[in-house]
């Protein structure tokens, strides 16, 4: 009965366009946001902020970035980490070389730089289709990593090629405590998710899906293929770039090019496979899964008697379970956790009656 829809009618088209058509959904979102912005900073501790919530938020954002490109526009990419790296290093350099530039502006500029690089490597997508395209994105992956290591300028000639976070100040407020870094991340991620969700439901989002489902038909009804695909690369690159900047500065506080290697790209791909391709909510679910699942396993292991299973085997086990889950999801539920959640909600709508 909680999910009663009776009496809630959309009387204007605008009502229908809302993220949540039902009042319950909107109230739920408002409650969740209030809790996230006000409740969590009061209740959480350093461990939760630094080791769970911040990476969860950043990975959700990265997932969203890739999901727009792969889940919505159907362009498979294995170069997500490269675009994150561009975002992180560009933000660092804007902050370093343009003193007085506000942090948020640097992050936005970093995201735009990543968008530019993404467009460059997205250019072949008009001619190359399907998974031949992974060559282009892999080229991005390896080239960017090489260039960032190769040219000292990017890391301000740090002998180790490592960049460290600038002071985290926005509008004169200091955000460098764990709770502050969490709030800063949450703010940026919330804003971008609002934007991303809007995009996915706008005309551009429809065009992406059209290109994904059948690009010939999309061209025939007048959707400009090149522009649509390149916008997907650009916007995906922007989101990933901002995620990279957050990863480097609000999460780790430091990063080297190697931190954005191919396995990071895979990790983000797994987030969207598990969470759900072509779903906004799925990015959160997938990221939550990928952050929490290893912690769950290793925490459970500490509850077992010592020596029962050693840490190494646990890690191998985790790797295997991940692989199995990927395959299982692809076989049983290609739409991922998001679809499972949707099913659950549909059932909740009928509860307590079965029909």
């Amino acid at each position: 009965m909680l999910y009663r829809e009776a009496g809630q009618f959309s009387v204007r088209y605008a009502d229908d366009r809302r993220f949540f058509r039902l009042r319950q959904g909107r109230l739920g979102l408002a409650a969740l946001l209030t809790f996230a912005f006000l409740g969590v900073p009061l209740l959480g501790n350093d461990y939760w902020f630094s080791a769970i919530l911040i990476p969860f938020l950043v990975l959700s954002l990265a997932g969203l970035g890739l999901n727009l490109l792969t889940g919505y526009a159907g362009q498979l990419s294995l170069g997500s980490a490269a675009f994150m790296a561009v975002g992180a290093f560009a933000t660092y350099n804007f902050e370093l070389r343009l003193p007085g530039l506000p942090l948020l502006a640097s992050i936005v500029l970093g995201g735009l730089s990543a968008a530019l690089v993404a467009v460059l490597f997205g250019l072949p997508s008009l001619r190359i289709k399907g998974f031949y395209l992974i060559v282009s994105t892999l080229a991005a992956q390896f080239f960017v990593q090489w260039a960032l290591t190769r040219f000292g300028w990017f890391s301000n000639y740090n002998s180790s090629g490592v960049i460290t976070a600038p002071p985290l100040q926005v509008a004169g407020l200091d955000f460098s405590s764990p709770a502050g870094r969490y709030l800063l991340t949450l703010g940026v991620v919330s804003a971008l998710f609002w934007l991303g969700a809007n995009l996915a439901r706008s005309e551009l989002g429809r065009n992406w899906m059209a290109v994904r489902d059948m690009d010939t038909a999309a061209a025939v009804i007048g959707i400009p293929l090149l522009k649509t695909k390149l916008l997907a690369f650009a916007i995906s690159g922007f989101f990933l770039g901002v995620a990279g900047a957050l990863w480097a500065f609000t999460y780790l506080g430091t990063v080297e090019p190697h931190g954005f290697d191919l396995s990071r790209s895979f990790q983000i791909l797994f987030i969207i496979i598990i969470g759900g391709l072509g779903s906004i909510l799925g990015n959160f679910l997938g990221a939550a899964f990928i952050v929490l699942f290893p912690l769950l396993l290793s925490n459970l292991a500490t509850l077992l008697p010592a020596g029962f299973i050693d840490a190494g085997q646990l890690e191998n086990l985790q790797k295997m379970v991940f692989g199995v889950l990927i395959i299982l999801f692809l076989i049983k539920e290609p739409e991922g956790l998001a679809r499972l959640w949707q099913r659950f909600r549909e059932r909740a709508r009928l509860w307590p009656l079965r029909y």
Binding site: D46, N158, L337
Partner: protein, 439 residues
Amino acid sequence: MFKRTFAGVALALAATAFIPVQAANEQYFPLQSYRVGPYAAGGTGFFGGFIDYLKYVNANGGVNGVKLTWSECETEYVVEKGVECYERLKKGLNGAPAAATNPLSVGIAYATLDRSTADKLPLITINHGRTDSTDGSVFPYVFPLQLNPYSEVSAIVNWIGEQSGGAAQLKGKKIVTLYHGSPYGKETNEVLQVLADKYGFELTLIEVPHPGNEQQSQWLNIRRLKPDWVILRGWGVMNPVALKTAQKVGFPANRIIGNIWSNSEEDAAPAGAAAKGFISITTHPSGTGFPVLQGIKAQVVDKGEGDLADPKRFGTVYYNLGVVNGILNVEALRIAQEKFGQQPLTGEQVRWGFENLRLDDARLEALGAKGLVQPLQLSCADHEGGGAVRFQHWDGEKWNLISDWVQADRALLRPIIEASARKYAEEKGITPRDCSKEG
């Protein structure tokens, strides 16, 4: 089903977040270990030696009666896992306070550097880490013990000089450095150039892209250059492949000098016959003859309590590095206890111990570690302390020492380190400590 999983996750996390606190006469070591993944060979050896030494100390009554405890958290050498482990373990265990972290990973060390300073918990990066963290006035909580990367190359050049019959003979020599295409690999390029300018040898820097399983073109280049020496600054699979490829192009292994991360059995043995004659530096010679290793063998390993899954690795390079690391940590603890009392200490107090760490020959003799650990003296300004290496050569089966301790030219390096530390301090807005006022 998934809902239940999430509920489980939440429960398990909640359980770890609220550990019951009880006082105990114990000192805790959070171990960010790695036993799987591409660098597992190093991790299992190092943490095996470290843990076995802690067990050995406990078997002998702990540190002045304070028992040592530890728990492991697998990092897989991945930075964010290391950070998670750090945050999870930094609070101590069952009331036993954490002494210091020893991640044995440059990436993790960098990512926990600021956190360590904020949390007042020493960060030990033995033989690696940020070179400029040697300057303790800017990096009060970071300790690149024994050997930082700059000292490493300086010692190698000094030894080459010795071999050629004096530093003056370095003039006109051709030296190639083959380095791993990563920040770690590039770290010493600048200093090598400084040394080349000073001594007048011809330096060629050649990069091997990560992971380094294909080096044909690099070695053909080396063959063409016909250098007198090749310094191998490798990591992981790059090392055996370098040796194999050297053989392939006919470059003699006894003209290749491996650096501190190219010096283990795991680096040489997979190359088989191609590795015979390979020279490398070490701060922690392999071998089981040192009294302290005999002690560990008698009191830990022979009782079936050793940490190594493969007992054959007892006394190997990585294992012995773990033991050396254990000795240095425990000694720091002991020295701090002299000042703060024989009880579990906070990270801040342990830091004082590290900063006043002093190991002379007599003490090393007493520890049964003479020849295994170099004499060492740290201070507020100097967080490295040693700066010496020994040379060893691979006979196809095992490492044999071929030199005594060779010192780096630390006076030459110090200004470069200080300049770099100053730049960092400015970027971060840190006011360096005045070391003359530290006690």
